[in-house]
């Protein structure tokens, strides 16, 4: 999960250039975070988030020079709202077709999705069995945070966090193996 370094509109480019950067970053974030089952919805999600930002700027033109942090936060909130709606619709759709023959309703590899779901469920189950501090440290590690970031987020020293991650991963491995999963 690496985002290329570039300069924002604060460096003197137009606010529209800032929006273009935001759009690119949203695309990247969605591509790296969303599951394959939502691949066909990425454009819609992106559009909704961008519309929210544009609307906000229209409503309050004085805020055209808003900081990137603010605009990105608005776009993020819009994304989460939209994801919630998409998931809710998906749930209703699944209820409606419950009796119908099983058809793949989302793009991506269904076998891979099923496997991922099984592993993900097992990981969550095993995390719940860990001592709390280990659980927190391992969770951040699995979310892709560096040791330094995890330590800062948890408010603990790096050495302690590192130890918790190491011990936590050992316990996670042991638990997963009892469920027939070898990471």
């Amino acid at each position: 999960m690496h985002l290329e370094l570039r300069h924002g509109h604060s460096a003197g480019a137009s606010p529209d250039a800032g929006l273009e950067t935001l759009r690119r970053d949203l695309e990247k974030a969605l591509a790296s975070v969303c599951p394959p089952s939502l691949a066909d919805r990425r454009d819609d999600l992106l559009q909704v988030a961008m519309m929210r930002v544009v609307e906000l700027r229209k409503r309050d033109p004085g805020r055209a020079a808003l900081s990137s942090a603010y605009l990105y936060r608005v776009a993020y909130t819009a994304l989460i709202d939209e994801l919630r709606r998409v998931n809710a619709r998906k749930e209703v759709a699944l209820e409606e077709v419950e009796q119908a023959p099983v058809q793949p309703v989302a793009p991506g590899d269904p076998e891979r999705s099923a496997g991922a779901a099984q592993i993900a469920r097992a990981v969550r189950d095993c995390l719940q069995g860990l001592v709390q501090d280990r659980r927190l440290a391992v969770t951040l590690h699995l979310q892709g945070h560096t040791l330094h970031e995890a330590a800062e987020l948890l408010g603990w020293e790096s050495k302690r966090t590192e130890n918790l991650i190491y011990r936590g991963l050992s316990a996670l491995r042991a638990c997963l193996s009892t469920k027939g999963i070898t990471p």
Binding site: R6, S32, Y76, T77, R84, N87, A116, V123, T139, L154
Partner: protein
């Protein structure tokens, strides 16, 4: 005797990567509604450490929250990079930088005096900002959401109407209703009015006289959320 125990076998980088992929590819089933504002503030460390840890607990347990966390992480990293100005130093900047370096040879009291000036200046600017922009004070009086239903009032099961006021700039509202043991049993989102009638069937399992706790969230135009304190009313 060997010190080796099965739990000493950690997961290697490739294994961790496989688990990360599985977690990402898992289509998040709708769980508890994600509080996007809370997740963002946790990721960007605007929340205190203990509240951040509480959010991470939810991330561990709920795939929807985990997905929201990953998005917030990506977006906040990108925002930080977008805000970083180009690091090309002009001749003047370089001279200034050289000047700064020459501080290192001066007595420590001079550096401390400079720090004091910066600190005092910072406090003054912060106070000025607070006066000019009271909306920025989280949970400040100016932004309080107040209940329009007196606490002593017992409400009828078939007409459990909640009303509130405050936060005029809110675009929509959410209401969360809990029982006395703090279990949330009803939540409604995107309300456009400052009033909501809790459906009678939702209250069916509560005995007469039960205390019903409710909390309102205002969604602001920038997507942030402002929460009320928890209000309490009895069921008739």
């Amino acid at each position: 005797m060997s010190d080796h125990r099965p739990e000493d076998d950690s997961i290697d980088d490739a294994g961790v990567e496989r688990l990360r992929t599985a977690l990402r590819d898992d289509a998040a089933t709708p769980g508890e509604p994600v509080d996007a504002d809370l997740v963002w503030r946790a990721v960007t460390q605007e929340l205190p450490a203990d509240e951040r840890r509480a959010v991470i607990e939810r991330v561990a347990a709920d795939p929807t929250w985990a997905q929201a966390w990953r998005l917030a992480m990506e977006m906040s990293r990108a925002a930080a990079k977008a805000d970083a100005p180009a690091k090309v130093l002009s001749l003047t900047d370089r001279k200034a930088a050289q000047g700064k370096r020459s501080w290192s040879g001066r007595p420590a009291w001079a550096a401390m005096a400079a720090m004091w000036v910066v600190l005092v200046g910072g406090v003054l600017v912060w106070r000025q900002q607070q006066r000019e922009d009271p909306e920025r004070i989280r949970g400040g009086e100016a932004e309080a959401i107040t209940s329009g239903v007196p606490e002593a009032t017992a409400l009828a099961r078939d007409r459990f109407v909640l009303r509130w006021s405050g936060v005029p700039q809110a675009t929509h509202w959410s209401v969360q209703v809990s029982s006395e043991d703090l279990k949330v049993f009803h939540r409604v989102e995107r309300l456009e009015q400052r009033e909501y009638t809790v459906p009678a069937p939702v209250l069916a399992e509560l005995p007469s006289g039960a205390r019903v706790l409710w909390q309102v969230e205002a969604r602001l135009p920038d997507g942030s959320v402002r929460r009320s304190s928890t209000f309490v009313n009895r069921l008739q």
